[in-house]
Amino acid sequence: MSKHQPLLHITQRGAIKWYKALLIRVLAFAAALAVCGLLCAMVTWEGGSATAGMTLPERFVAFLRDLCNAIGRIAQVVFNASFKSDRVVWKTMHSTAILLLLSLAVTPAFRMRFWNIGAEGQALMGCLASATCMILLRGSGMPDWLTILVIFLASILAGMIWAVIPAVFKATTRTNETLFTLMMNYIATQLVAFFCVVWENPKGSGQIGVINQSGEFKHFGWLPSISEIFPGVAPSFKGNNYLLNIVIVAVVCVILFFYLSRSKHGFELSVVGRSENTARYLGVKVRWITIRTMMLSGALCGLAGMLLTAGNDHTLNPTLVGGRGFTAVMVSWLAGFNPFVMVFMSFLLSFLSNGASDLATNFGLNASYSDILTGIIIFFIIGSEFFIRYRVHTRSSAESGQEVV
C-alpha cells in the first residue's frame, strides 16, 4: 500500500438512479421499524419469569421471537392508526393537508435560500387573525360569505406581516433570517397566549374553548362543511368537515408547482438561490424578490392558520399549530422542494405520528414514548438522504473501485 487510506471515506454521488434512491429509502424505513421493534421488545419484555429455566441460547431465541412479534404488532398498530375506519382515513388526509400547506408555504423562500423557520409563528398569527374576526365580528349582522372573506383576508395579511418583518430586515440590513424568523415564533406564541386570557371563558380559566360553538351566534365565521355547500351530501359523510380544507390545499399545491417551475417568478427565485450576484447581473431586483417571496410564504402560512381556526379546530391556543411549522421545514427539505413529492412526505410524517401515538397507547407506555419512536424513524429517514447524496467506500473497496452502499 503506497499511501495511507482511511478505513471509510465518503464521496459525493453524481445522479443516482431513481430505483436505487427508492431502495435506500425503503431499507432505511425497514431498519427504522426494526429498531423500534427492538426497543418495544426490550421495554415490554417479560424477562425473568417467562424465560426461567431456559438456557442462554433458548433465551436468545425467545427474545428473537418477541422481537418479531413486536415488529409485527407495530406494523399492524401503525397501519391501523391511519386506516382503521373511514373517519380515521379522512382525519389522516386532513392532517396531511395541513402539514403539506405549511411545507408549501416555506418552499418558495427555501428555493432562494432564505431559511424561513418561522412558519409556526406565521400560521399562529393566521389563527389569531381568524379567531379575532370570529369573536369581534359576531353580532355585527355581517352575511356569512362576507365574514369568511374578511377572515380569509385578515389571516393572510397577519401571516404576511409576520413573514415580511424579517424579510425587510434581511433585504435592508442583512440580518440573519434564520434567527429572526425563529424568534418571531416566540412572539407569536406569547401574543396568542395573551389573547387567550383576554377572551377566556369562564373567567380565569385561560381557555377560549370552541369559538361560536352554540347559542345565538352558532357557527359564526366557521368555514362551511361540504354538506352545507352541496346540500345533496349527507352530514353523516365522514369527510364532511375535512374535505373543503383538503381541496383548498390541493389547489394551492398545483398552483405552487406551476409557480415554482413554470413562471418567471419561480425562475427568479432559483437564480437568487444559486447566486445573488448572477441574479443582480441579470437585472433581478434581489431585495424586492426577497420581500415578495416572504409575502407569499407568510400568506400561505396565514391561510393554514385560517384552515385550522375557522376550518377545523375552531379555537385558539398557543399550541394549535403544534410544531407542524417546524416539521414542514423537514418535509420541504426531504422532498427536495418539489410540491408533489411533498404530498408524499407530508403523508408519511402524518402517518408516522398517528402510528407513534397509537403505539404508545397499545404498548401501555406514556406519551413520551411515541416521541421517541417518531424520533427514531425520522432519524433513519434523514439518514437515508445522506446515503442518497453520498457514497461510502471502505479501504479495500476503494482499491478495487467497488462501492459499499
Binding site: K203, G204, S205, G206, H219, N312, T315, T319
Partner: protein
Amino acid sequence: MKKIIALLLTLALCLSCVAAFAAEPVAKEDIKVGFIFLHDENSTYDLNFMNAAKEACEKLGVQYLIKTNVDESQACKEAALDLIDEGCNIIFADSFGHEAYMIEAASENPHVQFCHATGTRAHTEGLDNYHNAFASIYEGRFLAGVAAGMKLNEMIESGKITAEQAKIGYVGAWPYAEVKSGYTSFFLGARSVCPSATMEVTFTSSWYDEAMEKEAAVKLISNGCVLISQHADSMGAPTACETAGVPNVSYNGSTVSACPNTFIVSSRIDWAPYMEYMITCVMNGEPIDTDWTGTIETGSVLLTDINTNVAAAGTVERVEAVKAALLDGSVQVFDVNTFTVNGEPLTSYLADVDSDAAYTGDTEVVKDGAFQESVFRSAPYFDLDIDGITILGN
C-alpha cells in the same frame, strides 16, 4: 340555506331527544365505558380519576377503555369519536378544557352518553346526552383547612411562630372559580380554628408543571409562609415542602409516601360513586342528571388518613366534629358572617352560573346566611376575593 340546515338540525336534535328519552336498558355485557384523561398516572389529579374508573367498572363488571394524555383540543373530540368507534356507549372526560370538544362530539352522537367532570355548560347547552358532574369539594377543603389551622395553632403555642406569622401559602393553577372556591374554603377552614391566619396565593397558569409548582412553593416559603397547600396536579409543591421541612396539606390523594415528614392530610373527590351512578343509569335506561353534585354523604368528598406524625394533637377528633357539624348544617363553609369582601360583609352576589363571554352574573347565590356553592350547578362558581387572602403577581 344555513337557516334551513339549522332548522333541519334542530329538528333532528328534537327527534333524537325523543329517542334519548325512550332509551332502552342496555345489557351489562354491551356496556363499554370510554375514559378520556388529560395526563397519565404521573398526575395526582388523573391518577385519582383512573383509580375510580377501574374501581367502578370492575365493581359493576363492565368493559372500559382508557385514553391518557388527551389534550384540551380537537384531540379530545377525536379521542371520543375513536372510543365510539371501539363500541363505547358512555364517554367520560376529566379535564375542564375538554368540555367544548365533548359537546361537539355529543351533538354528533346522540345515542352515546357523555359525562364530563368539572364542566359548567350542560345545564345551558340543551343536549340530552351531555352531563356535568362535580362534588362539594369545598367541604373537604374546609375540613383540610381545619387540620391546617390546628397545625398553625400548634406552631404558635410552641413559640415557633407568633400569631401574626401564621401565614399559609397556596399554589393555584388558574385564577378561576374552581380554584378560588377551593382555596377560599381551605382558608376559611384554617381561620375557623386559627383566627390570626392569613394566606398568600400564587398561580402557575398550568394544570401540570412540576418545575413551576415547585418554584411557586419555594417562593411562598421564602415569603414567610409556614404551611403550604396546592391546587395543581403535579408533585411539585409537596416535594418542595418535604425538602424545606414545611408542613403541606395536599389535594387529590395522599402524598405521604413521598413526603412522610411534612404531609398532614389531603382532601380528594372520590369519583367512583358518580361513575357507578352514570353506568347504572345507562344499564337501566334511565336519564343521567344534567348536573350531579357529589357530597360527603354520597361518599364523593373524602379526606385521606391524617398523618399523625405531622398533624397537631387532637386533629382527628376536631376534624370529625366539624364534619358532623357540616353534615347537620350547624356549620356552613361560606357562612357570610365569617368573611368580608373589601372590608364589607357579603349580603348579595350575582354569580356567573350560566357562563357567557361577558361573565355577567345571572343568579343570586347568597341565601340563608351563606354563599350557596354548587347548588345552582355542580361546578363551583365562588370567585370572590375575600379579605385575608393576598394574590401575588408573578
